[in-house]
């Protein structure tokens, strides 16, 4: 009985570890393949839900979204993270493969699918109403749910980006943390600038 409980505990520990750092087991092309699958589904569901992933770590509700816009937003946000984190990796590590950064960063986008799905059931509150009375935001329960869920999803995605970057570069300590923080901030700025210039 004790052994069974121990095994169960080990399995659950491994499961949580896999959710936060799957890159110990998969990286490179394998991670890229799985990540692309998530991104494609995210793009489709995002279009149906009018949820735009317009930034390295952004998600916004829109009035209407075309497939082209949805995938362009996703493509730009992903490309900015991949390119900036790869450059950051090259600067701090001797051996960093582009395919590892590409794969891990693509898979790190996966948690946002949850927000796209919740977006299907969310009605955005009226902006004019909110500007008149900010408390009107609480009239839309689905919007509150989306807001509440978006925080852990964001944290989860950041943890995945961090772990993907750590595994891909093989660097530890303050060098890794600094490169990661600067890289993520730069990626966010780059994605916003790219969206501004391209759209």
């Amino acid at each position: 009985m004790k052994l069974f409980q121990k095994l169960k505990r080990m399995k659950s520990k491994e499961f949580w570890h896999l959710l936060i750092n799957p890159f110990r087991r998969i990286a490179g092309w394998q991670a890229f393949g799985v990540g692309v699958l998530f991104v494609v589904v995210m793009g489709l569901v995002g279009t149906w839900a009018d949820v735009a992933f317009d930034g390295a770590l952004d998600m916004h509700l829109t009035d209407s979204l075309t497939y082209a816009q949805s995938f362009l937003y996703l493509g730009i946000s992903l490309a900015s993270v991949v390119l900036v984190m790869w450059l950051a990796g090259v600067m701090i590590a001797k051996q960093v493969r582009f395919i590892d950064i590409l794969g891990t960063m693509t898979l790190a986008k996966a948690p946002f699918l949850l927000l796209a799905v919740i977006g299907l059931f969310t009605t955005a509150p009226d902006l004019t109403q909110i500007t008149q009375n900010p408390m009107a935001v609480f009239n839309s329960v689905s919007f509150i749910v989306l807001l509440v869920v978006s925080l852990p999803v964001m944290v989860w995605s950041i943890a995945l980006i961090y772990n993907g970057f750590k595994v891909s570069c093989g660097v530890q300590g303050s060098k890794l943390t600094l490169a990661f923080i600067l890289g993520l901030f730069t990626a966010e700025i780059v994605s916003k600038l790219a969206l501004y210039w391209l759209l």
């Binding site: 110990r24 087991r25 990286a27 991670a31 051996q95 590892d100 891909s168």
Partner: protein
């Protein structure tokens, strides 16, 4: 597993004597332990597997069911340990 550090003060041990099992001759001196013997059991097992896989990290990764960069990082950690011992 060969003990490599002193149980009393944790300093690195040296080989004092070697014995021939066939004629019981003993060779006494002060010899350094080989670098590989200083590594942990897991690290030694990793090196043996690495050699068995003809130095292919890809094959190691699929055998250990780990990602390529994870295995490469494990190897890099062993390399840094060896470099530290050699210094």
């Amino acid at each position: 597993m060969l003990p490599t550090s002193c149980p009393s003060c944790h300093a690195q041990l040296k080989v004092k004597s070697l014995m021939c099992e066939s004629c019981s001759t003993e060779v006494i001196g002060s010899y350094d332990l080989p670098v590989l013997a200083l590594l942990s059991k897991e690290d030694q097992r990793f090196i043996v597997r690495f050699v068995q896989n003809s130095g292919s990290l890809k094959e190691m990764a699929s055998e250990l069911k780990l990602s390529y960069p994870t295995v490469r990082n494990m190897l890099n950690e062993i390399i840094s340990k060896i470099e530290a011992y050699e210094k």
